[in-house]
């Protein structure tokens, strides 16, 4: 039963994406570590964490697409789940510093010593163990999404209202994490990491491994999402998106379906955040900024929502564009991003991937109708490609 669901998730397109990601997971680290400096095929050192960061963004966009593209829930607070996963990882990395901090306190992170704290707050316990931190990476965003979704979906908050309260959620967390007495390092956040799993976090090998882990995690997330959207569960999600009350009158508990998608999505976003933090070397409250969550929506819209490949392409392209733009014309990046969003909404309402598949099926339909006309079968109805 479960294996069948998994097999169905692996159609040709999905297989291609997974194979490509696994190839990247191996090829980029190998090329960076083993090819000699100056070799044309060598991926330069600074590209490894940069591309790794793009992959975690892609995973975040994929997570958003599961709820927005497939279930019609436009979350404007997904950055919060990403940031919470990131903080959980950051707390582990802080505890790994041990007595190598400026104040050389074996237990307390520097910022706590600076604040004159004598003891580790209760919620920092356990984060010296990787397995515990990994559990929290999943549990904290998952639990927040579950509680938030439970309250919102049960009281049938939908559409723009849901978007607004999700934005309010991330904003509230932004304000909370800015406060020093919250115990998460205030506006400086968590940084100056030294080790991860006992290996130096800055070393080339660690960076290569983190890159590979990001690619593999993205591939797994893609598989899980694919297994969801290609099953009857995915069809119900789309039904909820398109005609929520009809779905209810068929006997489906729409709130449970939304809650499942929302929680699963938050967990994926949390894992992405946990992979992001060691590669960029810092997590601070800025990650909760409402603008970040809106950017995720733009990546997804640009790539094509309601497709699983779209958000991945969108996240990588827009962020590559951002890296380039902030290098040459930093003041104009936000204008470029806004312009891109407007242009995509008007010109490519289904995003890059939607435009491609739309063009492809229109071409196929034209060929098919040409064949029908050549043949004797004149009754064949010349259907154009569906509007959806």
């Amino acid at each position: 039963m479960i294996t069948q669901t998994l097999i169905r998730a692996l159609d040709r397109k999905a297989l291609f994406v997974v194979a490509l990601l696994l190839f990247i997971a191996v090829a980029v680290p190998v090329s960076n570590l083993y090819l000699p400096e100056g070799h044309p095929l060598r991926v330069p050192d600074h590209f490894v964490p940069l591309f790794g960061k793009y992959l975690t963004y892609a995973m975040l966009a994929l997570a958003l697409d599961l709820v927005w593209g497939y279930c019609g829930i436009l979350s404007l607070g997904h950055g919060a789940f990403f940031a919470l996963g990131g903080y959980a990882m950051g707390m582990y990395l802080m505890r790994q510093i041990g007595d190598r901090g400026v104040y050389a306190n074996p237990v307390l992170p520097d910022f706590m010593v600076f604040l004159n704290w004598k003891e580790l707050p209760w919620f920092w316990h356990g984060f010296d163990m990787f397995w515990f931190a990994a559990l929290m990476v999943v549990a904290v965003p998952g639990l927040l999404a579950f509680v938030f979704g439970w309250l919102a979906f049960r009281s049938r908050v939908t559409g723009v209202y849901l978007s607004i309260i999700s934005q309010a959620m991330t904003y509230a967390l932004l304000l909370a994490f800015f406060r020093n007495d919250m115990g998460f390092g205030g506006n400086n956040g968590l940084t100056d990491f030294k080790d991860i799993l006992g290996t130096p976090i800055q070393s080339g090998t660690t960076r290569a491994v983190l890159f590979a882990a990001s690619a593999i995690a993205l591939a797994l997330a893609f598989l899980v999402c694919s297994a969801i959207v290609r099953s009857k569960l995915g069809k119900v999600l789309v039904a909820v998106r398109d005609a929520e009350s009809r779905t209810r009158f068929l006997g489906y508990r729409v709130d449970n379906y939304k809650l499942f998608a929302f929680t699963a999505s938050a967990i994926i976003a949390g894992i992405a955040g946990a992979l992001y933090v060691p590669q960029v070397g810092i997590i601070n409250p800025g990650e909760f900024a409402p603008a970040n969550s809106i950017e995720i929506v733009i990546w997804t819209a640009v790539g094509g929502r309601g497709t699983l490949i779209g958000p991945i392409i969108g996240a990588v392209l827009v962020n590559a564009g951002k890296s380039w733009f902030t290098g040459v014309l930093p003041e104009f990046w936000l204008f470029a991003l806004g312009g891109l969003f407007v242009a995509v909404t008007i010109l490519l309402p289904k995003g890059i991937v939607g435009a491609f598949t739309g063009g492809w099926s229109a071409l196929k339909a034209r060929r098919a109708s040409a064949r029908a006309e050549e043949g004797t079968n004149l009754s064949g109805d010349l259907k154009t490609s569906p509007a959806e």
Partner: protein, 248 residues
């Protein structure tokens, strides 16, 4: 008929929207395997009555019982649907970005929880049932097309097919022949009569020739309550019905 013998039992039901009484002390009974037609002028409260039965609207007062014992006013839409009440909307509502076959698969009577849906595989029986329904609603040839491509009348049929797939005991069918050709209308009457041999069907319609084809007991609704009841000939001879509905 006592409440215990009825399939659907409404007694003294009222609901008002901002002081306007859309349903006013309405009492109505539907028996097992009964086909009942409901007519009445626009705004009489026909759709609102279905909203009450299916849990979309809560009545201000009155009793609504299913199978004589289940109090529908305490349940939500999903629970009522799972009990065995299916509904076709006045405006045909199908899942446009799904294929016709998938629309039926979604409606098919199966466990409705998230994880059952995730790991669902149609077995031979399910496939056969969907094929059978496709045949009944004449959509076999288009099973793999998106529902968005269907004409208005065909969407109505698909929605009736979805009702059948749900395998309900009671079907509430709101204006099923709107947008259909005369021939399709005749076919629809046949189909509904056929369905009513094994389940109860309540049909709301304006089309008088269609109501005549149904040859069912007719309830006339006006201003939220029952004006007259009986055969079509009986109610169309009623002077109050003529004044409030037919005469206009």
């Amino acid at each position: 008929m006592g409440r215990q013998e009825t399939l659907l039992y409404l007694d003294g039901v009222s609901v008002s929207f901002d002081g306007f009484k859309a349903i006013n002390n309405l009492s109505l009974i539907v028996g097992h395997n009964e086909l009942q037609a409901i007519i009445g002028p626009n705004g009489a409260g026909k759709t609102t009555m279905m909203d009450i039965i299916t849990g979309k609207t809560r009545p201000d007062e009155g009793d609504v019982y299913f199978s004589g014992t289940v109090d529908l006013t305490k349940l939500d839409e999903a629970a009522i649907a799972e009990l065995g009440i299916g509904r076709k909307f006045q405006k045909p509502t199908v899942f446009e970005s799904h294929t016709i076959r998938d629309n039926l698969e979604l409606a098919l009577k199966k466990p409705r929880d998230v994880f059952s849906a995730w790991f669902y595989q149609p077995d031979d029986k399910d496939t056969a049932r969907i094929d059978e329904i496709l045949d009944m609603v004449r959509l076999t040839a288009r099973a793999q097309e998106l529902a968005a491509n269907l004409s208005h009348g065909q969407k109505q049929w698909l929605e009736i097919g979805m009702l059948l797939a749900q395998d309900p005991q009671l079907l509430l069918v709101d204006e099923p022949v709107a947008g259909m050709t005369d021939a399709e209308t005749v076919e629809t009457a046949k189909l509904l009569k056929d369905i009513a041999t094994t389940r109860s069907v309540v049909v709301v319609e304006h089309d008088m020739s269609f109501i005549r084809d149904l040859a069912a007991r007719v309830t006339v609704l006006a201003e939220g309550s029952v004006l007259a009841q009986g055969s079509l000939d009986h109610v169309s001879a009623d002077p109050r019905v003529i004044e409030s509905y037919l005469g206009r």
